[in-house]
Assembly symmetry: C2
Homo-oligomer: 457 residues x 2
């Protein structure tokens, strides 16, 4: 294999786009722990989940055995707007770093929502439409998921109600306009529109909100509105299933050029991107067919894998959702308001939590300023302005590439570039103006939130 032949951008043909999603759970010996009913503490049944989620998605959520789910043709048609997404060879970054490492990144920002979230949004909208629903509710933090869902709902002519974490709503007014362009309604959370929102506002007046609050509001709205269901952009098994298309395409592109990665790196908030990117590689690892170092990168200000505990916890602040077993900082944990880098969810996908607990992947946490330094270096070298979330992976990839330089090792590194930062310029502005802080939670803060975990553990 001659590396000379590898182009800057590996584009697969539309005909090479995967026709099925891959369900990593099918190959896991230790299955992810089931969602529990917060009242009975028993595993949630399909019937119970169907009040909140669409029927087909409940099936996907609960199925730990089926390895492949066919992607419906309507979804594949939509995917063709922006998929297959390019796998980029970072020749310029390699040169800039003077590293013998070969760096690749799967770029998921080449669509209007600006991130990988669209992969699952269109699937969830499709199943909602198929079920004959009027619309869906959801929450959004940085706004990527909300934008993706607005696009998907517009495509299938579904109503879309988005609860947007208040701090993001204020910092990212343009995100709201993009969602409106696609016909969605956007409410800053916590709001007075829901009982849980009113309760949270009464307890914490002036709160800037959190993903956990917004989830509670969206779920309440869904279960109290006729013809609506709730959809979620991360954490859930079904989301990781849909996102497997990222990893499947990555693997197809690498295989085409005979490239076998040594290290696979992804940023991790709730786990949607990481779980999707690593899926087929982790599958090989689980089946004993290959070995890879797999690294989850999280912000030091919201370090669920590196400083949380593995336990059952609420998925939301209002405690209206089922309990999930996951690495968590406690559902009451909210990252400091100066945290601008996204990935602010208190917990981590059950699938990834189990894999991490089984020692099948590593996790590192990185401080905010270093992330933006890496982001700026990447932008100037590779030409793509990365989302702060994605920049966590960039930072870790650069660190590994520098290690390769120091040890003179020609490793192949693949990382996920989940999205672009066009709507994150307030964060970049803070960075340019030297107003970024590297605050990390104290041990006491983390212990206090963890002490509030539900008694099931």
């Amino acid at each position: 294999m001659s590396t000379e032949k590898i182009p800057y951008k590996i584009y697969l043909d539309e005909s090479e786009m995967p026709k099925s999603w891959y369900n990593l759970r099918a190959d896991m010996k230790n299955k992810p722990a089931p969602l529990l009913n917060p009242q009975t503490l028993k595993p949630m049944t399909a019937a119970e989940l169907s009040g909140v989620f669409c029927e087909d998605l409940v099936k996907q959520e609960l199925d730990n055995d089926t390895a492949y789910f066919e992607i419906p043709e309507e979804i594949r048609d939509f995917y063709k707007m922006f998929r297959p997404s390019p796998l980029m060879r970072a020749y310029r970054l390699e040169k800039k770093l003077g590293t013998p490492a070969k760096i690749y990144y799967k770029f998921e920002g080449n669509n209007t929502s600006g991130s990988h979230k669209l992969n699952s949004a269109i699937a969830q909208a499709y199943y909602a439409k198929k079920q004959g629903l009027k619309g869906v509710t959801t929450e959004t933090g940085a706004g990527q998921w909300g934008t993706a869902l607005a696009m998907a709902c517009s495509y299938f002519d579904l109503d879309c109600k988005v609860y947007m974490v208040k701090v993001s709503y204020e910092q990212k007014p343009f995100r709201r306009e993009v969602m409106r362009t696609y016909g969605a309604s956007v409410t800053p959370s916590p709001s007075m529109e829901t009982e849980v929102g009113k309760k949270i506002l009464a307890a914490h007046p002036g709160t800037t909100g959190s993903l956990g609050c917004a989830i509670s509001e969206a779920v309440e709205k869904a279960v109290t509105s006729d013809g609506y269901r709730y959809v979620l952009g991360s954490v859930l098994n079904q989301v990781l299933l849909h996102q497997s298309i990222i990893g499947l395409e990555t693997k197809t592109a690498l295989d085409k050029y005979g490239v076998k990665p040594d290290i696979i790196i992804g940023c991790a908030g709730g786990g949607s991107n990481l779980g999707g990117l690593i899926a087929p590689f982790m599958g090989e690892k689980l089946r004993g067919e290959a070995d890879y170092r797999i690294i989850a990168v999280e912000p030091a200000s919201c370090p669920s894998l590196t400083r949380g505990v593995y336990a059952y916890d609420f998925c939301d602040t209002g405690m209206v959702c089922p309990l999930a077993k996951m690495y968590t900082l406690g559902s009451s944990f909210i990252p400091a308001p100066n945290h601008a880098g996204g990935l602010r969810y208190h917990g981590m996908s059950s699938v990834l939590s189990q894999l991490y607990d089984d020692g099948l992947m590593e996790a590192v946490s990185v401080p905010q300023t270093a992330v933006f330094e890496a982001a700026e270096e990447f932008a100037r070298t590779e030409g793509i302005l990365p989302a702060p979330e994605s920049s966590h992976a960039i930072k870790a990839a650069i660190d590994e590439a520098i290690l390769c330089r120091e040890n003179n090792e020609e490793k192949t590194i693949v990382f996920g570039l989940t999205g672009t930062g066009y709507f994150d310029m307030t964060a970049y502005e803070k960075f340019h103006d030297g107003k970024m802080s590297d605050y990390v939670p104290t041990d006491e803060e983390i212990a206090e939130n963890i002490s509030k975990l539900p008694k099931v553990n």
Copy 2:
């Protein structure tokens, strides 16, 4: 040829990217009129132009005979970050419109600057670097050109000073941060940094600026600073030369599938995109090898081709630049401040002006609200959130496709989708809130500005 085989996105291989730019002027019988020295009213010599522009660019500017200019390898390397750009088949839009027309669009927004401007920015930065300059100055309106130039200068480690039209500077704070991310300095124009800026501010206190003002400031800064030259993102012959890569790729992609367009549509402000997109097609037309309908689309609020005169005029408000013969509304013309759709330059590229005057292309003007309606329809159907500028072409393409439906004609329409609208959400917000106006200049306004044309005519 089976249209079934045409994918949603036609991606060329990097090896299929053009190795030369095509100079349309070589095939024009009536050459574009030369730039004139505003003092002597004689054609500007290479020596005179070299005080303002880089030497190699002066050669390209003045050469009406050489048909192809080789693209230096360093520029081609940079192009590979985002080129070849995709030619998209608008299957969804065709279906939505119920038209038998086949619609294609060349999408130039797939890069961080968000538009086609990067094609010329990197070329101009390269020649500045080659000449050993310290840096370049420029103006920017919507901010696309400034962003593109900031990226290009960062790549070649050149200083970049951008004068940004004040109204855009205020409406688009995030554009400024993107430019800063790439290391550029950005000044709202008119400013107190230049003599011409001071003069304009004294005469029009509280002005929101114009491209013409910003050009004057950038030129003054370049000619009064050691080791600096001025660069421009549109209008000039050299820019159209660089942008020919858009049309060359479009033609290669269409030829690959045996598709011959009937109508080619591009938005037109200064003419950079339109001139680039149509170059090889107009070349065939000039050589009598093929015929195409070619349509320039301009905003009704800044209608240089449809309501201007063909005459020598200043390129800038401060009258420091050479005179150019072009369709113009007068260099003192400034579109109404409620105009949010870009394309706000008072004149039009000399090349395009000559072609239009020779009857080789058509022009239409479209009102603002209709443009944003088309933009939103396109976003919801094709998934790409278009820049307001690009949306002028969308509007005209939709109109032509509807005509095809009414006349049951299976025409092939190609239009240029020059960029994305992520930084234009203030304009979209106006549209959503019903605050958009369709003001067009009165005949008296236009006549008054045209009455101030220089006496050379």
